[in-house]
């Protein structure tokens, strides 16, 4: 895989410095794939997409340092050639231009700034777990680095992890160092029928089973599990899973190999699965403790307002991530998520004034504002993108 080596940090720094001098906010843009995520705001474009290339990569160090504008698709192809993967399986989502054409343009900078993790997250960790170091342009227009390329590093505050999920509001990511994992030899997808309650019970019991599971979904009364290991281990694992189901869940049928497995997990990862595309209903992401009971059945508001004919929930991460299609008012969804010890974010089909993220407790928001003011004194990095007033 040839990735274009193109360092435009000097130009980017220049643009940031003049933005600081003129107190003119910047809208940081990578691959435009996550346009929907966060609030809209007025700002001058700062385009990272040409800032590409691998700064260092030695597979035996289990670490890669890469410029922020590098496309996820190219980065993953390079890692794959070396039998390695990004542990958090970042969603690419896709950028749809005004003619309706789809582009796989997502960048690693955007993946880290939004901190969104894909199907593997429940099993091998999140974007913030994998980040080892960052190089950023800070609020003074300086290029600074935190963390590094080594697995353990506790010198100074952990500003690399702070950048993950900060939605570009604390600085411009120029390059990131990420911890890698060996790529498993093979994947096997196994599916079997289950109601939502049964699925949650199965996920619960599987948490202590030590099968080589790397992804899980429940949708349309079917559980799908992805197992990743050598051919031999996959074979014994399949048998073990069926023995386990037989013993613990005798009413369920045994798990069968699913043939179009590759495209299935990619559709789940990138939200090109029909659950996400074939609806005009608002789509919510609920992040809840994994053992949280079935949500639609405990909540009348959801059950009544939505016709239960089409499946309106897709569950991932062994129960910890639940996608809900619902026209239920935002405040009810937020309260519902909170009552289960989690939170909701508004992903798709939201109105112009709807916010993506739930409000923070006032004392917590205050510390966010103090931190933002200290790290971005002129308020130029994606202002209001994450929260109004931040």
């Amino acid at each position: 895989m040839q990735i274009k080596d193109n360092d435009i940090s000097a130009r980017l720094q220049q643009q940031v410095k003049s933005a600081i001098n003129n107190k003119k906010p910047l809208c940081i843009q990578g691959g435009k794939s996550k346009l929907f995520f966060g609030n809209r705001f007025d700002a001058e474009l700062l385009d990272l997409s040409e800032h590409t290339g691998i700064i260092s990569y030695e597979p035996t160090e289990l670490c890669i340092t890469v410029r922020a504008g590098t496309k996820l698709s190219e980065l993953e192809a390079l890692l794959s050639e070396n039998n390695q993967i990004l542990p958090f399986e970042p969603p690419h989502y896709l950028f749809k231009d005004k003619d309706g054409n789809i582009h796989d343009t997502a960048t690693i900078g955007g993946a880290i700034a939004t901190g969104i993790s894909g199907p593997r997250r429940a099993y091998t960790g999140s974007a913030r777990d994998a980040i080892l170091g960052v190089e950023i342009i800070n609020g003074d227009g300086e290029i600074v680095s935190f963390g590094g390329q080594v697995m353990k590093n506790v010198a100074g505050y952990d500003l690399s992890r702070l950048m993950v999920r900060s939605q570009g509001t604390l600085g411009i990511l120029l390059s990131v160092s990420i911890k890698l994992l060996p790529k498993p030899a093979n994947d096997l997808t196994l599916s079997f029928d289950a109601t939502q309650d049964q699925a949650l019970a199965v996920f619960q019991a599987l948490r202590v089973q030590q099968l080589p599971i790397t992804a899980s979904v429940w949708y349309d009364n079917t559980i799908s599990l992805r197992l990743s290991a050598s051919e031999a281990i996959l074979k014994t694992s399949h048998t073990r899973l069926n023995n386990f189901l037989n013993e613990k869940f005798p009413t369920l049928s045994s798990a069968k190999q699913n043939t179009d497995q590759m495209s299935f997990w990619q559709e789940i990862r990138d939200h090109t699965h029909p659950f996400f595309t074939q609806t005009d209903k608002p789509i919510w992401r609920l992040s809840v403790p994994p053992a949280t009971q079935s949500i639609s059945q405990t909540d009348d508001a959801l059950a009544q307002k939505d016709d239960n004919i089409e499946p309106n929930q897709l569950i991932e991460w062994g129960g910890a991530q639940r996608w809900i299609r619902s026209r239920t008012p935002a405040n009810i969804i937020h309260n519902l998520a909170q009552s289960h010890g989690g939170y909701a974010s508004f992903f798709y089909n939201k109105g112009a004034d709807d916010e993506t993220f739930p409000a923070l407790a006032p004392e917590l928001f205050k510390i966010h504002q103090q931190l933002k003011r200290k790290m971005d004194p002129q308020g130029i990095f994606n202002p209001n993108k994450m929260y109004q007033g931040l």
Partner: protein, 489 residues
């Protein structure tokens, strides 16, 4: 930096209202046990030691200190090795040892809510009956507190596969300098807003007081195997580490010891270590039986290929414990070789292990001080133990210079001055080498967002630009100081 007597009286008066008399220590005899942490070369007496046991008490203590502008140094078990809990002469020690309860274990979500003074090992002991355990296992785990682990982002022998403290906690409650109680993180896999949980982890008591922690628990692996490989050359052992990773295997633990460490550990623990080897690697593999079988074959083959002269595979729990006993007692074992030793904690890229060990042995000759190496090879985290005698005039100073050289070497080869012990009081000067003034300024900006008057553990972890300038160790870029306008206080 002593406290004037009016402020001191006012402080003690207020503290008396908050905790019972026996939990407010002020006499010299009572304060002395708190004069240092695990780095006993530095000692100071605080004005008072306060030992609360409720969050409300912590909030009130912090508010009192905040009003009177009195520095606060939090203290867990005091096992820190970088002087992080070293008292401030004009401040109090806020001891969290009475927060020693495990509040709950959730066997459905695999988490446990614990108070900060709970010992690391106590969590695993409480979780064991449920088939669960807490993964980060610093060698000090029988004594160190989970609050101290969060404050230092502690690691252990299993962090290559299972991560450091930061990857193994989900939520903390902190008391900020104005006495506010904040919940950071959540019981879910992610939380809206900034990742302040990560920011607090490893912040060495400088941003807030940790008063409650939700840790993740893992199911105990079904099976464990430990391999010990002997090498005639240190270099071969170093290369074997990279070879194992190249095979696509992430061992649960991958530790290395050099000859002096092997000899010390063998004399102490009788672990059956090979006394003629230049270095040994201990490789622990864990997981499901079938997966393990496969991995052992690959690792054994790789080690042979990497010129291991002998390989022992311990399958019984007893044999495994014996192999680990040597490694786990390496520090005290080395302690018997010499009146004092100084433990370093740099990290380096794995590929530099052989080069750095060679340089360390050259430095050892140069300074005429012996050194034993025991370390977390899998994640490139070195622990050179420099042997010295504090009773010999000047030898501590020489040991410190030797240590500083090692840390600068780590930075030079692309590593860091600390992998798990923290900067604290000890490595503050080396921070000037690792970070530029602009980077240090950014750290100060973060600090001031949480603690504008710099009352939480002042003078630790982040050096002032002034200090770096005086040292002459300033990390200068292109021959100019990026912030000529900043006062060098």
């Amino acid at each position: 930096m002593h406290l004037d007597s009016n402020t001191k009286d006012a402080l003690l008066n207020q503290l008396k209202q908050i905790v019972a008399a026996n939990y407010l220590l002020t006499s010299k005899e009572d304060l002395t046990p708190y004069e240092c942490d695990g780095l006993s070369a530095y000692q100071r007496l605080p004005v008072a030691v306060v030992l609360p046991d409720t969050i409300e008490q912590v909030q009130k203590i912090v508010q009192a200190c905040s009003q009177l502008k009195v520095p606060i140094v939090a203290r867990g078990a005091g096992t820190g090795l970088s002087g992080g809990a070293l008292p401030h002469e004009g401040g109090i020690i806020l001891g969290l040892s009475r927060f020693n309860k495990i509040l709950s274990i959730d066997t459905n979500n695999l988490t446990s809510v614990v108070q900060p003074g709970v010992r690391n090992l106590a969590i695993t002991e409480a979780a064991r009956p449920h088939g669960l355990y807490y993964a980060p296992d610093p060698s000090s785990q029988i004594a160190c507190s989970i609050g101290g682990n969060v404050a230092e982002n502690a690691g252990g022998v299993h962090c290559l596969k299972y991560g450091l403290t930061v990857q193994n906690i989900q939520q903390i409650k902190i008391v900020t300098i104005d006495g506010t109680l904040l919940t950071l993180g959540s019981e879910t896999f992610d939380t809206p807003g900034y990742d302040l949980l990560a920011l607090m982890t490893g912040s060495e008591g400088m941003l807030g007081i940790i008063v409650e922690i939700v840790v993740k628990l893992l199911p105990k692996p079904h099976a464990v195997k430990v391999l010990m490989a002997s090498f005639d050359k240190v270099e071969d052992a170093g290369n074997a580490v990279a070879d194992i990773i190249a095979e696509g295997i992430i061992p649960a633990g991958l530790e290395m010891m050099d000859k002096p460490a092997i000899h010390a550990a063998e004399a102490f623990a009788k672990a059956n270590y090979p006394l003629d080897a230049a270095a040994i690697l201990l490789c622990e593999l864990d997981g499901d039986e079938d997966q393990l079988e496969e991995q052992v074959i690959v690792v054994e083959k790789t080690l042979k290929h990497a010129k291991a002269s002998k390989i022992v595979i311990a399958t019984s729990a007893e044999d495994q414990a014996k192999l680990w006993a040597g490694r786990k007692s390496a520090f005290p074992a080395v302690g018997r070789l010499s009146p004092d030793y100084y433990c370093m904690d740099g990290t380096i890229p794995r590929k530099q292990i052989a080069y750095v060990l060679q340089k360390i042995s050259e430095l050892s000759e140069h300074y005429d001080l012996r050194v034993a190496n025991v370390f977390h090879a899998g994640d490139g985290n070195l622990h050179p133990l420099i042997l010295y005698d504090a009773n010999i005039e000047g030898e501590l100073k020489t040991a410190e210079r030797f240590g500083a050289d090692i840390l600068e070497l780590c930075v030079k080869v692309g590593g860091s001055i600390t992998g798990e012990h923290g900067v604290g009081h000890e490595k503050i000067d080396q921070m000037c080498v690792q970070f530029s003034p602009a980077e240090l300024t950014q750290f100060f900006a973060v600090k001031s967002a949480f603690d504008p008057d710099s009352l939480l553990n002042p003078g630790k972890a982040i050096p002032t630009l002034h200090r770096c300038a005086e040292l002459g160790a300033m990390h200068v870029h292109n021959g100019e100081l990026p912030h000529p306008e900043i006062p060098r206080f």
